[in-house]
Symmetry: C2
Subunit: 476 residues, 2 copies
């Protein structure tokens, strides 16, 4: 097996090496697209399964809208098309003929969905309308990186319509809270939640909420976003409803999404020098059993014990016995470590004789010898939960120890030049100052904190009175 680049020395290469060695994905022929290999796609399937239930718990129903959007439909919301048209793939021919109107491959589905919402919504009784879609998306990105930014990606997009701004606010916040719960419980991912600055909101939105995680190289990574789209799209797509008093009103719209970028997020937050580390809730294989033997006699006894373990544990645990003959135990240990399997059980003839097995946790790489009789369903599940919690605690510890506050531009620059991380700092609220910071240190505002904390402070660059307390970081 090829080596993985040193995580500290060359994080970008380490990232690509992990994806290759763990067999998550590979580059496709079309530049910027990737092939999701079975192990990588299994991560997306697990995320989908879990999140789909959470989405349904919010009273949202799944539907499916077309891939292709006519140019005239895209163009109705002016900010939106300005933001998205430059990164669209355009279909100009179909069925052997040139089309009379160009079709965009969806870069997101607001425009096509809201054209239909306008037909579905007539009265306050039709609200709230809550729709979700699992779909593929194409955005013509120039600088791509597997999972983190690809030309085509997979995602879910929730779209809801409400009678009042307050309801839409609540929906946008509920969606964000659902994402943060999912991040913690499923991905062992600590995130910060907050509002994006106006200059970085979704094209056409009133405001955008975000969850931001911190990668091990000190860069921020946007994990999910939720937008209150206000009434702009309602107007552009001519949605209206009669309220309880019979007056015509424009509905308030939200949209929110997460994508296969979450796979990249798991890699850059949890991965270590040996490769991937998967939280047990997410892992396609939670426990791998590696048999060790030399003679045929040993083989029979050891494999029998391994199968016994599998039978005993497989009701509640995703367990695999790696009985490949052509690979050595050492090769297998390495492969499953690279692939991030949370728990490894090693079982050889000497263990069998002494009635023990060796357990190796992927989160700590700690080895322990444990009586075979203690490898019960209950014990193993507790251990997996410990690993889940352990990964969360490690990531949280890293994030907390890399989150700073400063009023000084000098210190700000120093912090971001070092190990990176999140830096809270006062901001005067102007795009100009945000851009100057970006030009100097490549840091952008990830989200806005408690504005009260900015009181009496000055913007790092302009020296003007600060209006916002902003979280800065270099970002993916």
């Amino acid at each position: 097996m090829a080596r993985i680049a040193d995580q500290q020395a060359d994080f970008p290469q380490w990232y690509l090496d992990v994806i290759e060695q763990a067999q998550l994905a590979e580059h496709a022929i079309v530049k910027g697209c990737i092939i999701f290999k079975p192990y990588g796609y299994a991560l997306w399937e697990a995320m989908q399964r879990d999140m789909d239930a959470r989405i349904k718990d919010l009273g949202v129903e799944n539907a499916y809208f077309p891939l292709l959007i006519p140019e005239s439909v895209m163009a109705k919301e002016k900010e939106h098309i300005k933001g998205f048209a430059p990164e669209c793939a355009v279909v100009t021919h179909g069925g052997g003929k040139e089309l009379t109107e160009k079709l965009y491959i969806r870069p997101t589905s607001e425009t096509i969905m809201y054209t239909t919402f306008a037909k579905w919504i007539h009265s306050y009784r039709d609200l709230p309308l809550k729709i979700n879609q699992w779909a593929n998306i194409v955005r013509w990105e120039m600088r791509t990186r597997p999972f983190l930014r690809t030309l085509e990606f997979l995602w879910q997009e929730g779209h809801t319509a409400h009678a009042t701004k307050e309801e839409a606010d609540k929906m946008a916040e509920d969606a964000l809270a659902m994402y943060a719960d999912f991040d913690r419980e499923m991905l062992a991912l600590p995130v910060l939640k907050g509002k994006k600055p106006d200059h970085d909101k979704f094209a056409g939105a009133l405001y955008t909420l975000t969850t931001e995680a911190l990668a091990r190289d000190g860069k921020a990574i946007q994990a999910g976003t939720s937008h209150n789209l206000g009434q702009g799209f309602s107007e552009a797509y001519d949605m209206s409803f009669l309220d309880t008093e019979g007056k015509s009103q424009r509905p308030w719209i939200t949209s929110w999404g997460v994508s296969t970028r979450l796979i990249g997020t798991v890699i850059v937050v949890h991965g270590d020098t040996k490769g991937l580390r998967l939280p047990p809730s997410l892992a396609p294989i939670q426990v791998v059993v590696v048999p060790i033997y030399k003679s045929d006699e040993e083989k029979t006894a050891v494999l029998e014990a391994c199968d016994g373990l599998k039978r005993a544990l497989s009701e509640n645990i995703r367990i695999k016995v790696d009985s490949r003959e052509e690979k050595s135990p050492g090769f297998k240990f390495n492969e499953w470590e690279v692939k991030g399997v949370p728990l490894r059980i090693e079982l050889g003839p000497r263990d069998l004789k002494s009635g023990n097995v060796v357990l190796v946790r992927r989160d700590t790489l700690e080895k322990q010898t444990v009586p075979l009789t203690e490898c019960t369903d209950f014990r193993m599940r507790s251990l997996l939960q410990e690993i889940q919690d352990g990964l969360y605690a490690q990531a949280k510890g890293f994030m907390d120890s890399h989150t700073y506050e400063t009023d000084s531009h000098e210190e700000f620059t120093k912090l971001l030049e070092g190990e990176g991380g999140f830096v809270w700092a006062p901001w005067d609220g102007t795009v100009e100052s945000a851009n100057r910071i970006k030009d100097k240190s490549k840091a952008t505002i990830r989200l806005l904190g408690d504005a009260a904390k900015a009181k009496g402070k000055k913007d790092l660059i302009s020296g003007e009175a600060a209006k916002e307390y902003a979280l800065f970081a270099k970002a993916y």
Copy 2:
């Protein structure tokens, strides 16, 4: 609620009416595309969930390949591009620039997948390779009909590579058998299985197997196909492996798929004059409870009893209490009949007093009064199974009574001019004779039966010695 056209008098309009009234789908702005509404999409979700497990039981892993295929990649297998290029949507611009090479939106993924398979397959140890993908597909169809033929549709496509023709034959047959099992157990759908004639096989295949169902208007409908692609694609995409003796060989390839057309198939096979009839295995709602009351006092008691039923049954049964206030019981009966819910429970104050409920089966529209205490989980599940079996038996009865054999062209024509159906007849094996039949009676060969039955018989049209015993029908 608007009326549904008479099924006997105008089947095509009946079909469109059912889709509209049952809220399954609606036309999208791009001609030929549909919007899958929540109730329609829920059918696809149920099919996916069930079939995904069957696919994995065949040892197949899910993956995901790109939507966009460069023209040069599509063009490598000559028969394939000849068959598909005319119905492709073509992307010529991306990121605001004209592309140097046209990209096709996948009309099927053989070409893009096999480009990658060639990189994954080196030795006999890498075989069999079994990959499945759930994806959207675009084919530029001119004459579309919701679910049955749409410009964009959803499907799964399995693609496998094997060391020998025998293994590929077996895989193609196993996939077809899996489809037929799924059709019966999940969709209550009887199908005939067999090989397509050569002139109707998949572009580039060695042979194509098919499952064919019979709609209530006497037309055949292809429900799923499975292809042994031979070694043609292996050569075109330069796949090879070293066999156990170290010799370089070309793998044998299969591909197989079913699509959202299955939703249309369920409608045209099971639907009746009142609308959709859903097999319980598939139904998003298996049991609907409709409360009936006038006074507030009655309302409290009746709703309480309805909720009690729901609590008692919801562990194993997908049950819904329709407690909408603004709709009358009559409206609800009609709506759930149109939507094909297998079992309705009506519960009013008089029933409550006598300790009974009224059960209405959607398959037979039969009403029965049953003691509330007998509405147990076991009893209801048995009843749902009875309905599942009942729908299958009805469809099987219809298919059997509309399957004919004839040696006479006159009788053949008469049979197909009447109520339609499947007609077995001898065929000389030439495209010319098949085309002449098609020109005269619009019937095509759906699949080939036991060739031995053709012995000594003559082709219906040419009068030449028959070589095949073929199943003819008008088709969707």
